[in-house]
């Protein structure tokens, strides 16, 4: 998991004092789109973790697919103005001018962005089509949180 930002406490103070909120629609989109991909990655990792096996190529590629989708979705939600092609925009945001406060953007980007980047690095490093079991279980465990 990403390390806390060096100015994190200041950001939380700003959220508190400036009463910065995240619109319900944004939360809903995050849970709907990103939530499904995070859940899918968790279930893939848990499947192999429970039997202490490495993750096969085919399944690792699925993880990669989900991280790509998370990145795309986060960009669409946090920076809808940058998506010029209307077909690629999230329909829920198309008619809503919903610019997020930069503080929220920073936190979302830092935590989701860095974690997804970390997963991508691990998967990318091990994703060798010649290897039938590319991701050692101890590395895959870094994708998930054991209670």
């Amino acid at each position: 998991m990403a390390k806390p930002l060096s100015n994190e406490q200041q950001l939380y103070n700003r959220i508190r004092t400036e009463k910065i909120t995240v619109p319900l629609l944004i939360w809903d989109l995050m849970y709907h789109y990103v939530g499904d991909d995070i859940s899918a990655i968790t279930q893939i990792v848990l499947t192999f973790w429970r039997v202490n096996e490495s993750i096969p190529v085919e399944d690792a590629q699925k993880i990669k697919g989900h991280t790509v989708r998370i990145n795309e979705t986060v960009n669409k939600i946090l920076h809808p103005e940058k998506i010029k092609n209307e077909a690629e925009q999230l329909p829920e945001l198309r008619n809503n001018n919903m610019k997020l406060n930069p503080v929220i953007n920073e936190l979302f980007f830092h935590y989701i962005g860095n974690d997804v980047y970390g997963i991508n690095l691990i998967v990318g490093f091990h994703l060798d089509p010649m290897d039938t079991h590319p991701i050692p279980v101890e590395n895959a465990q870094k994708f998930s949180i054991k209670p």
Partner: protein, 133 residues
């Protein structure tokens, strides 16, 4: 009830979630069935009569969504244990599910093994012979 006799239906429109969730439950010794669609899930329910159903509230493009599937299942057999998978922003849906007798919820994203423990505890509490046996 013996784990190998417990039937569990997993319904989620994200294929990797339904597939791997069912796979984890199979590895744990349960009989698990998966579906990405409400209509197909209803068919599986009628055929297999699962004891526990994990249902995603939002089934995307499915003709039967998660809540409608829940209503059909509860109308067919009130005693089936249903676990609704929902979002924290879905309070209205949670309230409706409560009215239908659902006492178990899981919030997305499923980021750890809490859901597995929940399924195990519900399965452990099933009466011998099953709720619909």
């Amino acid at each position: 009830m013996e784990k190998s006799k417990v039937k569990i239906l997993v319904v989620d429109d994200e294929e990797d979630i339904s597939h791997y969730t069912a796979k984890i439950l199979q590895l744990d010794g349960f009989q698990a069935f998966e579906s990405v669609d409400g209509t197909q899930a209803w068919e599986i329910f009628q055929k297999e009569r699962p004891h526990i159903c994990l249902i995603d509230v939002h089934l995307g493009y499915s003709k039967i969504d998660g809540m409608e599937l829940l209503e059909k299942i509860k109308a067919a057999d009130k005693k089936v244990e249903c676990i609704m998978i929902t979002r924290i922003t879905d309070q209205e849906t949670i309230d409706k599910a409560k009215e239908l007798g659902v006492g178990h919820y899981l919030l997305k994203p499923l980021a750890n093994e809490v859901w597995v423990e929940k399924v195990h505890s519900i399965a452990d509490a099933l009466p011998e012979g099953g709720v619909n046996g």
